[in-house]
């Protein structure tokens, strides 16, 4: 069927048949075409057939599924697309129920909606899951129409189905991407021209800028100036050549704060390599850096004051020494110790003590020049390194002293601890050093020793360490090791000094320790007792003294003539403070079987310096055994009368310093009078020591003193001589 064209250019439809006419040899000589014109009816029919074919083609090959069901829901017609989804041939499908190809859940939904569909005659956008022969699930969106007869009975239904599988996947990918985008890492997306198109919440939090402020800008807005142009050039070269870059970058937040972050930048490219976007992720690592710093701080800084600790001080000292060796200049080490720090802790509590230390640290730092170091070694001990002082040691010392005085002055200003005003002083020891100085540990020791000197010199002052003092220290340490040795080698002896009453009758003795040094003969207790106190050897030595004295008492008690003699034994504060001291006394008294009332322990006033309550309690415990107490060196310390009254004392001993000048110094006489009067008022016995002349004795007796001790009656002597003296 084709169209022919007339002479007048109109056309007509005709059905043509052509055939070939051949000659004897088989060559085609003519083509004969017979054409039958088509009437309008035949033309229409032909057109309908063609149209039906076209529709059939569209139906079959449309990008959506079509099917028709009979009134029972069985498939009567289905298009090729839907068959392809199901992976079935038409024969396998026709006659089957459509819901046989749904997942269980979809079948339920289908059956649930079916009555409504029948009622309304149509349904739109119902989501189903279609299961193919291969088990593959396809998300489809279906719309269906019901065809009914005149009575409203269902004849059939038709449905069109759209494949939503890919769309669903994209949707879920998008949802996933949206969730992933809002992570704790900052994410920033720019176009190919570095104009910022998208940022996530984390990025706004990291940068401090709102999304509004960022979108449309370029990442240059975050620059801190920390990196130079070459840095950014290298970064872009890497991105352009490899597609990505990562590294640490220091940016500036909106607040102005410069912070480090770990950044990765990736180029997003089309298949042809054209860059469409850049995506960067930003991780704020300032916290990490802070942690790193914190670790360093813990290792090298005192957490309370943020000052260098001992370890860092030693490092700085090492560098200072190296610099001094190089430049020929000098330096100084200052050791600073607060004079009354302990009382802050005791009276205001440790929290206030900490506040004080922090304030002290601030004040000390304010006194320093750049390049100097102040460190805290512990408690209230601060050490300062002054570098680059004058090459002349004397000049350097003057400079160091100036700094030290500045520090004393600033520390003398009141501190405000909470609401309390607190006044403090400090003692400073200075060791000046130059290139010839050996050993940094010694240097620290020197400054410490000088500081102790300052304390002894009355506090709130500065002392220098000098070589002469070093010598004294050296010989001291020799003595210390010899002292340890002395106990083992039994180099101690007791000497006894007679004590008499006002009728000059022997009434007792004071046991005094003597150290017979193998090389030096007798060493004065004034020389070795302080060392024994500091080293703790006094505990052992004191125990030996007490034991030896009690042994002597037990000997005396065997003899009618000596059985009433009192023996005084000196007890150091350190020994007295031993928790088991009362037990020790009890054990020794029992072991020797002595009359405890003949034993007298001499304590010095220094014992009352702190924790008086526990001292009183120990004294009472010992006193309960019958042992008596005498307060030695009375008048030299700062006894509080209030405490004195509470002590179970038997005797006061007037210090020999008052006795010495008694005959020439009126004020000493007045003091002695007062002491005796006070002692009597407290019902205490009074003994004077260091009595050397009759004149002294008479003045003391006049004042009311009843007992005496001194060279006038006998020097301290070995027991053998003492026995002779008693005769």
């Amino acid at each position: 069927m084709k169209r022919y064209i007339r002479k007048d250019s109109s056309f007509f439809w005709a059905q043509s048949f052509s055939t070939a006419i051949k000659d004897e040899t088989g060559n085609v000589t003519l083509l004969v075409t017979s054409s039958i014109e088509l009437t309008e009816h035949t033309l229409l029919e032909a057109k309908l057939t063609a149209s039906a074919k076209e529709i059939e083609d569209l139906y079959d090959n449309a990008p959506c599924g079509y099917h028709s069901l009979n009134h029972e829901g069985a498939i009567v017609r289905i298009n090729a697309t839907e068959l392809a989804w199901l992976g079935c041939t038409r024969e396998e499908v026709v006659g089957k129920k459509i819901f046989d190809f749904y997942t269980g859940e979809s079948k339920e939904r289908f059956l649930k909606k079916y009555p409504d569909f029948l009622k309304k005659g149509h349904i739109e956008d119902l989501e189903f899951e279609l299961v193919g022969k291969d088990g593959k699930i396809r998300n489809v969106l279906a719309s269906a129409t019901a065809v009914k007869d005149a009575n409203g009975n269902l004849l059939m239904s038709r449905a069109v189905l759209y494949d939503m599988t890919e769309q669903k996947r994209l949707e879920s990918d998008l949802r996933l991407a949206a969730v992933a985008f809002e992570t704790t890492q900052g994410i920033l997306v720019t176009d190919a021209n570095s104009v910022i198109r998208r940022v996530n919440r984390a990025l706004t939090q990291i940068t401090g800028y709102s999304e509004k402020e960022i979108i449309g800008q370029t990442p240059k807005m975050f620059k801190s100036g920390h990196h130079d142009a070459a840095f950014y050039t290298a970064m872009w070269e890497t991105i352009n050549s490899t597609g990505s870059w990562q590294g640490e970058i220091w940016d500036r937040r909106k607040s102005g704060e410069i912070y480090p972050k770990w950044m990765t930048i990736s180029a997003i490219k089309l298949d042809d390599g054209t860059v469409t976007h850049y995506v960067s992720t930003h991780v704020d690592i300032s916290g990490l850096k802070a942690a790193e710093n914190e670790i360093e701080n813990l290792a090298f800084y005192d957490p309370l004051t943020k000052l260098p600790n001992r370890r860092l001080l030693q490092d700085r000292l090492y560098h200072a020494k190296a610099s001094i060796d190089r430049t020929g200049r000098t330096g100084a080490l200052l050791n600073i110790d607060l004079d009354n720090f302990k009382s802050v802790n005791d009276t205001l509590g440790h929290a206030m003590g900490d506040v004080l230390l922090q304030q002290v640290a601030e004040r000390l730092q304010a006194c320093l020049r750049a390049g100097d170091t102040v460190a805290r070694l512990g408690d209230d001990e601060f050490v300062i390194i002054l570098e680059n002082l004058d090459a002349q040691l004397i000049e350097a010392a003057a400079q160091a002293k100036e700094v030290g005085e500045k520090m004393l002055a600033t520390l003398n200003q009141p501190f405000f601890l909470g609401k309390k005003e607190f006044h403090s002083t400090a003692s400073i020891g200075i060791a000046v050093f130059n290139g010839s100085q050996k050993g940094m540990t010694n240097l620290l020791k020197h400054a410490d020793i000088a500081m102790c000197q300052a304390k002894k010199a009355g506090r709130n002052t500065i002392c220098f360490f000098d070589p002469q003092m070093q010598e004294a220290i050296n010989s001291r340490s020799v003595l210390e090791s010899e002292l340890r040795n002395a106990i083992e080698c039994r180099q101690f002896f007791l000497h006894y000094q007679l004590q008499v009453d006002h009728l000059m009758r022997p009434f007792g003795a004071e046991a005094l320790i003597r150290w017979v040094h193998p090389a030096r003969d007798l060493v004065s207790p004034a020389e070795f007792i302080p060392i024994a106190e500091e080293t703790g050897l006094i505990i052992q030595i004191g125990k030996w003294v007490l034991d030896t004295a009690c042994a002597q008492l037990s000997v005396w008690q065997l003899d009618e003539k000596t059985k009433d003699l009192m023996l005084s034994v000196n007890v150091s504060a350190k020994q007295f403070r031993q928790a088991d001291f009362a037990e020790l006394v009890k054990a020794i008294v029992q072991r020797h079987g002595i009359n405890p009332s003949r034993l007298k322990l001499e304590l010095t006033e220094s014992i009352l310096l702190d924790d008086v309550e526990s001292v009183i309690s120990t004294m009472k415990e010992i006193n309960a055994l019958g042992v008596r107490f005498s307060l030695d060196d009375f008048g030299t310390g700062y006894s509080s009368l209030q405490y004195l009254k509470r002590l179970p004392l038997h005797q006061l001993k007037i210090d020999q310093s008052f006795v010495r000048d008694l005959t020439v110094d009126n004020s000493d006489q007045a003091i002695v009078n007062t002491i005796v009067a006070m002692a009597h008022s407290m019902n205490l016995n009074v003994i004077a020591e260091g009595v050397e002349t009759q004149e002294q004795r008479m003045l003391l007796e006049k004042a009311g003193c009843s007992h005496f001790q001194g060279y006038l009656f006998g020097r301290p002597m070995p027991i053998r001589e003492f026995k002779e003296l008693l005769k």
Binding site: M1, K2, R3, Y4, I5, R6, K7, D8, F11, F12, A14, Q15, S16, F17, S18, T19, A20, I21, G26, V28, T29, L30, L31, V32, T33, S34, S35, I36, E37
Partner: protein, 81 residues
């Protein structure tokens, strides 16, 4: 009985169907019956100056010419279009 050429000529001319015969080489019309002459609207002389291409609607010519080729080559003896 033998059909004479003038009788054959009359059968051809009086057929109620349009009939044309063409030269298989150039498609020139060599014979056209009265019905054909009437349908196409040419005079008997005019139509003999035309080729098949002049008579067919241009959009349909390609298919027609393809069929002719098949006839000439002997691939088919008859074709309907």
């Amino acid at each position: 009985m033998q059909v004479l050429p003038n009788q054959f000529r009359e059968i051809f001319d009086k057929s109620p169907v349009c009939m044309i015969a063409t030269d298989p080489l150039n498609g020139r019309i060599v014979l056209a019956n009265s019905r054909a002459i009437k349908m196409w609207g040419y005079t008997p002389d005019e139509i003999l100056t035309k080729t098949k291409a002049d008579l067919i609607f241009p959009d349909d010519f390609a298919e027609s010419s393809q069929r002719n080729t098949q006839l000439v080559s002997g691939m088919v003896d008859l074709c309907a279009l």
